[in-house]
Subunit: 339 residues, 2 copies
């Protein structure tokens, strides 16, 4: 990229609050192993996931996202009346039309005030891209209390004949409240950096549900609505992409990678995440992880680990935090902040 | 909104080039009337559409969008090698995963350079939201040649038992190249303003294709993959929303609404567009229209009329231009620029 060696731009925007919502129903890996005829322990050994949540039949991306927003507003000391922007940064959509942010507005009861709504999508990096662009909208003064929501109902698109991916994913939502950084406080959002190599576009995909293979066409196979992934090839591809990306990224930061108090990585799979982080120059004790109990929650994983890092006391105000991950595309991205 | 009476922020970002792609196949309203058993002249009288394009069986949102990008780059005097960001601002997606911008990157052959990709979606206002956020990314110096692409394959989701909407839509794509405004040139992008009222969320929808009614579930009716709209109710709702919105919007502009050389409105339907524009204080001669020959191309309509206004000589460098429209949600939005 042309701007490669320029220092990262920063914005005086603060993540004022974080919220998370997990559906009640816990699906243990042991139960899946029994159901699928897999060797006991296989799921946790291969993916690092011991249990994940699955949404109830009446839960939707909007209802889960709304719960996460309410928790984030409470954390920020804000009320629903303060919200002036709703951005949904999710990999999946609840319906084809309208966008999911509109359905979130409905679930939150914010219709009458006319709060603007739009979606940002880059699959597992959707939260990071959304945070990046909403950071600009808040920094330029257009909004004073924006919510960024990632909410995923992965369980409806699992391909149970493809064990490796079917056992990996979990449902849930997370949200962040963004405000201008108050005078005298240290919070900053640095610019997000991203790279995509579409030679890996078919390595993680749901081929259907869109205009290429419309569900209305009887010729579209039903399994095209299900997730397909080639885990080993993704890992190799993403590892190579990530090492180059973070080598360049570190030259643009105003401090070294080791100065991050926490790395909040996408919870793609436990082994892949740890090996990639190590190869990119991070220490294991910098990583915040929740894949063991949450599974891979697509776009919601990164804000969930940020949330968990803060709630667990590992991330404090003024700490340097890095959100980073890989996504279908294949893409790699990162956004540094002073929390 | 809290920021309601503040003057609009502007950014020194230039729409350096515009491109449009229309599939070859023309579908005349007369042919549809014959096919559907409608009275001759009904379609044009009700919707204003005389003909629209329909994509060929091998065309995709990505292939159409790529053609629009190539045309926009040629117009800007840029090459593919200059592109450093691809943002797809479309209402429809080609697949559920990955995002459509990735598939555009693939179609453009830009994989090896790692050009970042993400999607922005607010249905018919997707281009305007995308332009707004990409404007910030260019203004802050992250990108020097960003493309914003709106590409729609509406023909795959038409509900032929609902004549009013089935005859309205067309396929096609449009793209814009965004660069920092060169020293001494007048081009500006003002901030975009938007409002959503989700009490109208069910008035224009595709209920399926997402996690609420997954196509993999045999219980999901096939027609949920098709577009449904309540035209008269949308018109009334959008009219009321729009008048309030533009009354407020005009107080934030540094000039009067009549100073716009051109209004590039979403081509929702001819009568609705004209009546709404008039009620909001615009003159008929400010409107750029192409619904007669293009139909409603969802997100691609606004950049298409911007393109047509420039190519037809109605919009010249330094002119004040307003992009504005309504979208499923229901949403209303506008973005003013000095072209």
């Amino acid at each position: 990229m042309g701007a490669a060696s320029k220092p990262l731009v920063s914005r005086r925007v603060k993540v004022a609050g974080l919220g998370k919502y997990l559906p009640e129903r816990v699906i243990a890996s042991a139960a899946l192993e029994a159901e699928l005829g897999l060797e006991p322990g296989w799921v946790e050994r291969v993916t690092g996931v011991r249990e994940r949540r699955r949404k109830g039949p009446d839960e939707t991306q909007a209802s889960m996202g709304a719960q996460a927003v309410l928790a984030a507003l409470a954390d920020a000391g804000c009320s629903l009346d303060d919200v002036d922007l709703i951005v949904c940064g999710s990999g999946l959509s609840q319906q084809a039309i309208p966008c999911t942010a509109v359905l979130l507005q409905q679930a939150l009861g914010l219709a009458a005030r006319g709060v603007p709504c739009f979606d940002v999508n880059s699959t597992c990096l959707s939260f990071v891209h959304a945070l990046d662009v909403v950071g600009d909208l808040v920094a330029r003064g257009s909004y004073r209390c924006a919510v960024v929501v990632s909410t995923e109902a992965t369980s409806v698109g699992l391909n149970w004949s493809e064990h490796e991916s079917a056992v990996l994913f979990g449902d849930g939502a997370a949200a962040a409240v963004l405000v201008p950084t108050p005078e005298g406080e240290p919070s900053l959002l640095f610019e997000g950096c991203f790279t995509t190599d579409s030679r890996g576009a078919a390595l993680a995909e749901v081929k259907g549900c869109g205009t290429a293979w419309p569900p209305s066409d009887p010729a579209t196979p039903r399994e095209y609505a299900l997730f397909h992934m080639q885990g080993t090839r993704i890992f190799r591809h993403a590892m190579k992409q990530s090492v180059g990306f973070f080598t360049e990224y570190s030259t643009r930061l105003p401090f070294a990678l080791e100065a991050f108090a926490a790395l909040c990585p996408h919870q793609a799979s436990l082994v892949a995440m740890r090996l990639t982080a190590r190869a990119c120059g991070f220490r294991q004790d910098q990583l915040v992880e929740n894949i063991e109990t949450h599974g891979n929650c697509v776009s919601a994983s990164i804000p969930m680990v940020l949330h968990d890092g803060v709630r667990g006391g590992r991330i404090r105000r003024g700490d340097r935090v890095l959100l980073a991950g890989t996504a279908a595309g294949l893409s790699v991205g990162a956004l540094a902040m002073v929390y």
